[in-house]
């Protein structure tokens, strides 16, 4: 399944946050969305998954979600959004309970194994580090077999070392199973490590500034300094202006 964004425009009151954004998310690839703060990247992601209605334009699903997908458009949130009163396995079970599944516990065991969380199945979120919490959230997302993963700054709440480890984990997961993802971030290093395609949004109102294709295979990438420098060149002035702006 692919996603196509056509002429997406959105306003909050007087402020225009997204202006005529058109975008393709091809199957089996990771599209990173970067831009200065307040450029509407999180709004874009909420619209991709149907959590918010755009003022104009459409988000189209092209093709059917794969067989057995319980929740084709699945989010991974920045703040993990785990239920603190459920243990790790219970948090994964939450999203499966509304579906009739003969092998629910097998699915849970499988995703916990894939995210290397098996031995923490009975732990409560408050006992886990930030990196572990986000791995639980990723396990929960994998459990519903998404067609497209919508990741909203998934590593931004983590420290640099944990971020590095989780990036490796995500690459490993993608290498094994070529999932489709939209990955919103403000961190250019993440974007060039994980993205097949990097979409640079301009400052409010968010417009597409440039789409950078990165052909290098995901597994063998280094820091990609040239691409990073290029992206930063596109964003620097706007990032500075965004920083100096009063919050509306």
């Amino acid at each position: 399944m692919e996603l196509r964004v056509a002429g997406l425009t959105h306003r909050y009151g007087e402020t225009c946050v997204l202006d005529d954004v058109s975008l393709e998310i091809p199957a089996g690839r990771i599209v990173c969305v970067v831009g200065p703060s307040g450029c509407g990247k999180s709004t874009l992601l909420r619209m991709l998954g149907g959590l918010e209605r755009p003022a104009a334009g459409r988000v189209l699903q092209i093709g059917r979600p794969p067989e057995g997908s319980l929740n084709p458009l699945t989010y991974v949130f920045q703040d993990f959004a785990l239920l603190p009163w459920r243990d790790v396995a219970g948090n994964v079970r939450l999203v499966l309970e509304d579906h009739r599944l003969p092998n629910r516990e097998d699915v849970i065991a499988d995703v916990l194994a894939r995210t290397r969380l098996t031995e923490f199945a009975r732990a409560l979120p408050r006992q886990l580090s930030g990196g572990m919490k986000q791995r639980v959230a990723i396990a929960r997302a994998l459990a519903v077999r998404p067609a497209v993963m919508l990741m909203d700054e998934p590593l931004s709440a983590l420290d640099a070392q944990t971020r590095e480890l989780l990036m490796d984990d995500l690459i490993g997961l993608w290498m094994r199973e070529r999932f489709t993802a939209v990955y919103v971030t403000h961190n250019l290093a993440e974007a060039v490590r994980l993205g097949h395609r990097v979409v640079v949004l301009s400052r409010r109102p968010g417009r597409i500034r440039e789409i950078v294709e990165i052909d290098e295979p995901l597994g063998g990438r280094g820091a990609m300094e040239e691409v990073q420098a290029h992206l930063w060149g596109l964003m620097r002035d706007e990032a500075r202006a965004a920083d100096a702006e009063l919050v509306p």
């Binding site: 998954g49 959590l51 319980l70 929740n71 458009l73 699945t74 989010y75 949130f77 703040d79 959004a81 239920l83 603190p84 009163w85 459920r86 939450l94 999203v95 309970e97 509304d98 409560l124 979120p125 408050r126 929960r140 519903v144």
Partner: protein, 279 residues
């Protein structure tokens, strides 16, 4: 000390001038320590003070009964079996009325928390009901529900209901919105979101509302029994009061206090079990 503090080397010379002292600790306080003996000790000291004062004569025996006499009255009450004849109807009223009121309060509070129409329609009504002394409505309830148990259940239920509504809808309002959005994004049904995300998330607030609700239930229990009951702690206290029988009056009051402490301990126990996920 010379003028070394003004020089850029001031720090080093201060270190070497021999007057090293530890940095004073400023971080303590503002965190009440637990002490399981303090509470009972205050009780014991107060009772001992009254006992000694009455026996020595510097407290008039018109003002307070001898604690030991109160204890004897209580033992007598227990031995004659009268204790249970008063306690069982009271506890039944407390439990039936309290349960009805708490459940209705949680239900209505959840509706107010979730639906704009319920909020707009019911919050003013609850605000109007909250400050009314419920005991003033007892005559009305007697007409509606009869002179028997019905009016007492209704009164206690109403007393528990209002604080539970306010606590519940406040707690539902405070449930982390990102968790609800997460539930929606995974396509959870409305019922699942309410049962698995909203209600557990509101549970801390609901339980602290329950403490207040049940304390009010005890107050109304006694008030209702004073106005019309043959048996019950309230009736017992009223009878003792009208005879100026201080020993029996205080025995009755002590039973109420124990009931209050027991209720509070029960809620604390539930909190510990249900809210184990909080650190």
């Amino acid at each position: 000390m010379t003028d070394t503090t003004h020089s850029p080397h001031g720090a080093r010379s201060a270190q070497t001038d021999g007057s090293a002292r530890p940095v004073p600790f400023r971080g303590g306080g503002f965190r009440p320590a637990t002490n399981r003996w303090a509470g009972p000790l205050v009780f014991a000291l107060l009772i001992a003070f009254v006992e000694v004062g009455l026996r020595a004569g510097w407290i008039s025996n018109l003002t307070l009964p001898l604690p030991s006499d109160v204890l004897a009255t209580f033992v007598q009450l227990y031995e004659t079996g009268l204790l249970w004849r008063h306690l069982v109807p009271s506890l039944t009223r407390f439990m039936v009325g309290g349960t009805l009121g708490a459940l209705a309060g949680i239900g209505v509070g959840t509706l107010i928390g979730l639906f704009g129409l319920a909020r707009a329609g019911l919050v003013p009504m609850v605000a109007a009901l909250f400050p009314v002394p419920k005991i003033a409505l007892l005559p009305l309830f007697v007409i509606w529900f009869g002179i028997g148990e019905g009016s007492k259940y209704a009164l206690i239920a109403l007393g528990t209901f209002t604080p539970m509504v306010v606590a519940t809808y406040g707690a539902v309002d405070n449930v982390d919105r990102t968790l609800i959005r997460m539930g929606q994004s995974f396509g959870l049904s409305w019922g699942s979101i309410v049962r698995k995300i909203v209600l557990p998330g509101a549970m801390p607030g609901i339980l602290s509302g329950l403490r207040i609700g049940l304390a009010i239930a005890i107050i109304l229990l006694v008030a209702a029994e004073m106005l019309g009951a043959q048996y019950g702690i309230g009736a017992y206290i009223l009878e003792a009061g009208s005879l100026y029988d201080l020993e029996r009056l205080f025995a009755g009051v002590a039973i109420l206090s124990v009931l209050g402490v027991a209720t509070s301990a029960a809620v604390a126990w539930v909190e510990r079990r249900v809210l184990r996920w909080r650190s």
